[in-house]
Amino acid sequence: MTIVAPNRAAVAGLVEELPERKRSLAGVALNFCRRQPLGTFGLAIVVIMFAAGISAEWIAPYDPEENDFSAMMEAPSWAHVLGTDQLGRDIFSRLVYGARTALIVGFSAAFMGGAIGLVLGVSSAYFGGWFDLLFQRVLDVLMAFPLIILALAVVAVFGTGVFNVILAITIPLIPRCGRVVRASALAVREIPYVDAARALGFGHARIVLRHMVPNVVAPFLIMLSAFVGQAILAEASLSYLGLGVQEPVPAWGLMLQGGAEEYATTAPWIAVFPGLAIMLTVLGISLFGDSLRDAIDPKLRDR
């Protein structure tokens, strides 16, 4: 048996070669679309929602708050593609403007609740001891209430209106985020780079924000997408109950409330279309969130 010495070019290649850089963003997006058709469908719904919400002024054919008493409860027609409600307002225009309300409330509440929960959850895991114990018991108390009940309680204290609704949905999301993040952060705390940061004499804030938070971001992002869906649903529920966004601001939950009970048989389009909008949006966000988790999970990534 002879042993062939590696030729010079091969050795030089080994030395010179540096690991390839990360794939481009477009490449990642294309790969995601190919592997996750359902997630792409969800993403498409979210993108359409965004487009509608941002450019509502140009898309909506009518003013969403203007009453046309000559055209009340009209069935879908060429003039009013999705019909009009009991006050003669164009349902399609209200849906488009309602998307804006849903997006503002959903994303603000999810991001605020997520960010606060993220920092508190990581801090809780990092400091441990009595702080962690106390924090966990506070979360237990908050988690004992279903999301919508706690949101109702907050609205009852602070009153209605868009800002208060955001606050009301933010507060119940904090413990849900904090708990999951704490579990990931407990694992991160034991990784030697956190010890290294302590040995280098870094402050608590730096270790939590620079060394631990960025490393629990993957599970956090997935949770965040679920939170946006939950927040939109909660906003619709609160508005439906009359404790959320107030008339005449267009909101999907409000449109349901106005249409569902009285006109379910005589003018079903008043309730059906906002209901469909809520369902499709939440479905789209959930599908996208699920696919995002699969795409980020390295164990599932290359199948």
Binding site: A196, A199, L200
Partner: protein
């Protein structure tokens, strides 16, 4: 304790103990015992010296290192760094110490934050401690540190996952050097690397010791690396030091029965010698550190044990100049 040292030691550990409580029950948790990870350890390290700390897994050598770094608060004992007891210091008081004492970890993959660029990892301590407030000069310093550790300065813009294990370990070393420390704890610093890379990193550590006048506590289980790098070696077993001597003395003339068993387990890279030599493993398993044996902790496995070993805990005695053994049966 250190006959060969003329000046005062840089680090002196006296009666160091680290007990981790074991509790039972969730609602009414009560303490049912202690894991005695480190149980009364004494040693000293002179300036510019490298002390090897060896022993099998779970013997407490890493915990000893963590106590010295004050990543743990020791249960008992003193840690004198440059004459100052640091064992009871609070976090704020320790900040100054962090610049003088650093650590290199075992695993080059988990000891670097994957979300930070290599340059930022090395620059961060320089920035936090206010050593070099100017960003441009800090960058130059990072490049210098990378070169010193045998890496191309262009690695500063890369992420750790783009590098090999050996390169990452060099980044870890550069980070440890960033604050210009006097003392570095190398916690199994080469154990996770390939043998060829190990040799490179060991040589790098030796070069750095001479260049920056460093003092190392070299924690390892690989005895051949220890023999190459260290001047003195301490052998730990179940939270205690059983033998400590100059490197050659310990390897050529081990006195404690545990050290003898440990050394006989080192393979010799010559099949003919390996086939004929006597291999004497210590019988049985390492006892639990929650409930260690009475007297000498090694007595249940010791070929030389006598009745007295179960009662009296042996102290380290200097049997030959600079050669300390904790065994009542060797003379």
């Amino acid at each position: 304790m250190n006959a060969g040292l003329n000046q005062s030691p840089l680090l002196e550990v006296r009666g160091l103990a680290m007990h981790f409580p074991v509790s039972e029950g969730i609602v009414l948790s009560r303490k049912i015992g202690d894991v005695k990870a480190v149980d009364g350890v004494d040693f000293a390290i002179g300036r510019g010296e490298t002390l090897g700390l060896v022993g099998e897994s779970g013997c407490g050598k890493t915990t000893t290192g963590r106590c010295i770094l004050r990543l743990e608060r020791p249960t008992a004992g003193q840690i004198l760094f440059d004459g100052q007891d640091i064992s009871r210091m609070e976090r704020k008081e320790l900040v100054g110490l962090r610049r003088r004492m650093q650590v290199i970890f075992q695993d080059p993959y988990s000891s670097l934050n994957p979300r930070m660029k290599v340059g930022d990892i090395i620059a961060e301590p320089i920035k936090v401690h206010g050593v070099e407030p100017d960003a441009g000069r800090r960058r130059a310093r990072v490049h210098e540190l990378l070169s010193v550790c045998g890496l191309d300065p262009k690695f500063a813009d890369r992420y750790p996952h783009e590098m090999s294990g050996g390169q990452r370990q060099r980044v870890g070393i550069a980070r440890a050097l960033a604050l210009d420390p006097e003392f570095i704890v190398c916690d199994e610093a080469v154990s996770a690397l390939d043998v060829s890379i190990q040799a490179q990193v060991v040589n790098l550590l030796e070069d750095l010791r001479e260049r920056f006048n460093l003092t190392y506590l070299f924690i390892a289980h690989d005895l051949s690396v220890v023999r190459h790098l260290c001047q003195r070696v301490a052998v730990m077993y179940l939270g205690r030091i059983v033998e400590m001597a100059d490197c050659d003395e310990l390897f050529d003339n081990p006195l404690h029965p545990y050290t003898q068993a440990l050394l006989s387990a080192v393979p010799i890279p010559d099949p003919r010698v390996e086939a004929t030599r006597q291999f004497r493993p210590a019988p049985g398993e390492v006892p639990s550190p929650i409930n260690p044996p009475s007297g000498c902790v090694f007595h249940p496995r010791c070929p030389m044990a006598v009745e007295d070993c179960k009662r009296a805990r042996p102290v380290l005695r200097e049997l030959r100049p600079g050669h300390w053994v904790a065994c009542s049966e060797v003379h």
